[in-house]
């Protein structure tokens, strides 16, 4: 550009004329941003893609979800059909993960277990999301007395030991898929509510909220349209980290005899049933559910960490 701008003066006489090239007519676009502008989400996505560990976790989870949905369909064995002659067979070409003490195919049951474990985790995260967002949003946006009272309630609930309350509820309600999810959600939403409230508290004094208010928008509309979209980053991270907590809790409850009841089996139930086989050497019974619980929790944890880095605008360079 500097070359082109220079007026033709005697000093430049030494430069042959053919070195000068006329500016392209379209050259007015020199200031135009050549790359497409990045939205918050595409920027976050680009940074997530660079995080190999997090992407590995994401790919594993997609793969797992596909197997959970389609795995049992392709398997020739049924999840509950009992087949005594085949009991406790080691992994082989017919039974990739071996069979259990009732002759059921562990491979098939593992994907059924994935369905239940993932379902419990995702439902718990979703319920936490809805309660936490509404509660935290109202508490943070209203402020003042309402916030004060709502925060005291949260402080009290936060002090309750999570798993003990869950155990208590399940003893009374009886273990089933629905009651486990309900029990996990009773106190699980508190963390989400705290995060949403903190974010809303920070955001609500910004001008764009004032602008909305001056247009006469109702509180709930402002929370929904203005505040929540700006807090989605931390909310998504929190949800990603809730799923492994719920999967852990469900498996833990299975070990206490409060898991999903037969004939269905979550990974926790499978691992618990297999406990007695440690000493007999039927390692596959315990190994596969244990492996998948751990891998799934690992995948969610690294994905959550990756999302945290990717979605935090402060870390943007």
């Amino acid at each position: 550009m500097s070359l082109a701008e220079k007026p033709k003066e005697p000093q430049s006489a030494g430069i042959p004329d053919e070195w000068f090239r006329p500016l392209d007519k379209n050259g007015q676009d020199a200031e135009k941003v050549s790359r497409p502008s990045l939205s918050y989400w595409s920027d976050a996505w680009q940074r997530l893609v660079k995080n190999k560990l997090a992407m590995g976790g994401l790919i594993f989870l997609i793969f797992l979800a596909l197997l959970a949905i389609f795995g049992p369909i392709f398997s020739p064995y049924s999840v509950r059909e009992i087949n005594p002659p085949n009991q406790n067979m080691a992994p082989s070409a017919e039974h990739w993960f071996g069979t259990d003490e009732l002759g059921r195919d562990v491979f098939t049951r593992t994907w059924y277990g994935a369905r239940i474990s993932l379902f419990v985790g995702l439902m718990a995260a979703l319920i936490d999301f809805f309660i936490g967002v509404v509660y935290g949003g109202i508490s943070g946006y209203k402020g003042g007395r309402a916030d004060n009272i709502m925060m005291r309630i949260i402080e009290i609930l936060y002090g309750l030991p999570y798993l003990l309350v869950v155990i208590l509820l399940l003893v009374v309600m009886g273990p089933s898929l629905a009651t486990i999810i309900v029990a996990l959600s009773v106190t699980g939403w508190v963390g989400m509510a705290r995060i949403v409230r903190g974010q809303v508290l920070q955001l609500k004094n910004h001008e764009f909220v004032l602008a909305s208010q001056s247009f006469g928008a109702k509180s709930w509309r402002i929370i929904r349209k203005n505040l929540l979209p700006n807090t989605m980053g931390p909310i998504i991270v929190q949800m990603t980290l809730t799923v492994p907590t719920a999967i852990f809790a469900e498996a833990f409850l299975s070990f206490l005899g409060l898991g999903i009841q037969a004939p269905y089996a979550s990974w926790g139930v499978m691992a618990n049933d297999a406990l007695s086989t440690i000493l007999s050497g039927d390692w596959w019974r315990l190994f596969f559910p244990a492996l998948f619980i751990s891998l799934t929790m690992f995948a969610f944890n690294v994905l959550g960490d990756g999302l945290q880095d990717a979605l935090d605008p402060k870390l943007r360079e």
Partner: protein, 310 residues
């Protein structure tokens, strides 16, 4: 400071009251009376029994009696083991659980902090990555899964360590590793990140400029501030370790409180379930309170900024 403690204390009392009330409500939500099963008792005996346990009184009287029994630390008899009261079971089991829990807490804190410091000092080096890989694995592998795999390798395959019971220090190794690994990983990650933050601050540069040895800088100047976030999660970690003892005691056949608790869940021994829950919850809530107070004392900023920080 006093105001802060008083406020925390009040919240603690309300929380305990809520868990006590919750157990009461849930206990009465279970259909049927404890005495109408299999025994085939006559109406008169049944009425007498109910009168003896105040089951014929109105609900609020029962509630007050229940509160009184909790305050006087009397959790009543076990239904399934008629010779023991819940207090007996707690007296027998709790010391063992406490031992397991305490050893695990200490192991987790010390090893977690050390791991975190080493990782922070070798930031982005191989040791850092290795330490953080261990930490993420530690968070991802549930303690009961780790326990089963430890038994499988150390006790069954290699036969170096005993698989179960609680009779010598050697028996403690596997359960403590299983229980301490998760919290250790969390502490290590926290220590590392807050240590990295602290190490960039001016007073550390100053200490370095004065020519202090790296050892002194880390342990005398940096660590004190780097550990503040760790203190805040101690309460949650204690809760995790405590509930972790339930399954680990089952897996390792340790005769602690968790074993009785799991048994009581499996044969629906309600007084034991309720008593244990109330006892453990109160224990945890008090711990949480102490952690909060400790945090308030350690960090003088907390008094002023507590509200905004939330």
């Amino acid at each position: 400071m006093l105001r802060y403690i008083a406020k925390r204390f009040l919240i603690m009392l309300v929380t305990i009251l809520i868990i006590v009330t919750l157990t009461f409500v849930l206990m009465h939500a279970i259909p049927g009376s404890p005495f109408n099963q299999e025994r085939g008792t006559s109406e008169a005996v049944q009425a007498n029994l109910e009168a003896h346990y105040h089951l014929d009184e109105p609900m609020y009287i029962q509630y007050l009696l229940y509160l009184k029994s909790i305050v006087t630390f009397d959790f009543g008899p076990s239904i399934k083991q008629p010779t023991s009261t819940v207090n007996d079971l707690l007296g027998r089991g709790f010391p063992i659980s406490l031992e397991l829990g305490l050893v695990s807490v200490i192991v987790a804190i010390i090893s977690g902090i050390l791991l975190g410091i080493i990782a922070a000092l070798r930031h982005n080096g191989i040791i850092d990555y290795a330490a953080m890989a261990i930490a993420v694995l530690g968070i991802s592998i549930p303690n009961f899964i780790l326990a089963t795999q430890l038994i499988q390798s150390f006790a069954v395959t290699w036969k170096i360590l005993p698989a179960a019971t609680w009779s010598s220090p050697k028996h403690m190794i596997l359960p403590v590793i299983a229980l301490a690994t998760g919290p250790m990983a969390i502490i290590a990650r926290l220590t590392r990140s807050s240590m990295l933050e602290v190490l960039t601050q001016d007073y550390i540069k100053m200490a370095r400029a004065k020519g202090l040895s790296p050892y002194k800088i880390v342990f005398k100047h940096a660590l004190k501030n780097a550990l503040m976030p760790v203190v805040t999660i101690l309460g949650t970690l204690l809760a995790g370790i405590l509930t972790g003892t339930f399954v680990l005691e089952k897996i390792f056949a340790i005769p602690g409180m968790g074993k009785y608790f799991v048994e009581s869940i499996n044969n629906r021994d309600y007084p034991v379930i309720m008593g244990t829950t109330v006892f453990y919850s109160a224990f945890l809530i008090i711990m949480l309170f102490l952690v909060d107070i400790a945090y308030g004392i350690l960090d003088p900023r907390i008094k002023l900024h507590k509200k905004e920080a939330e």
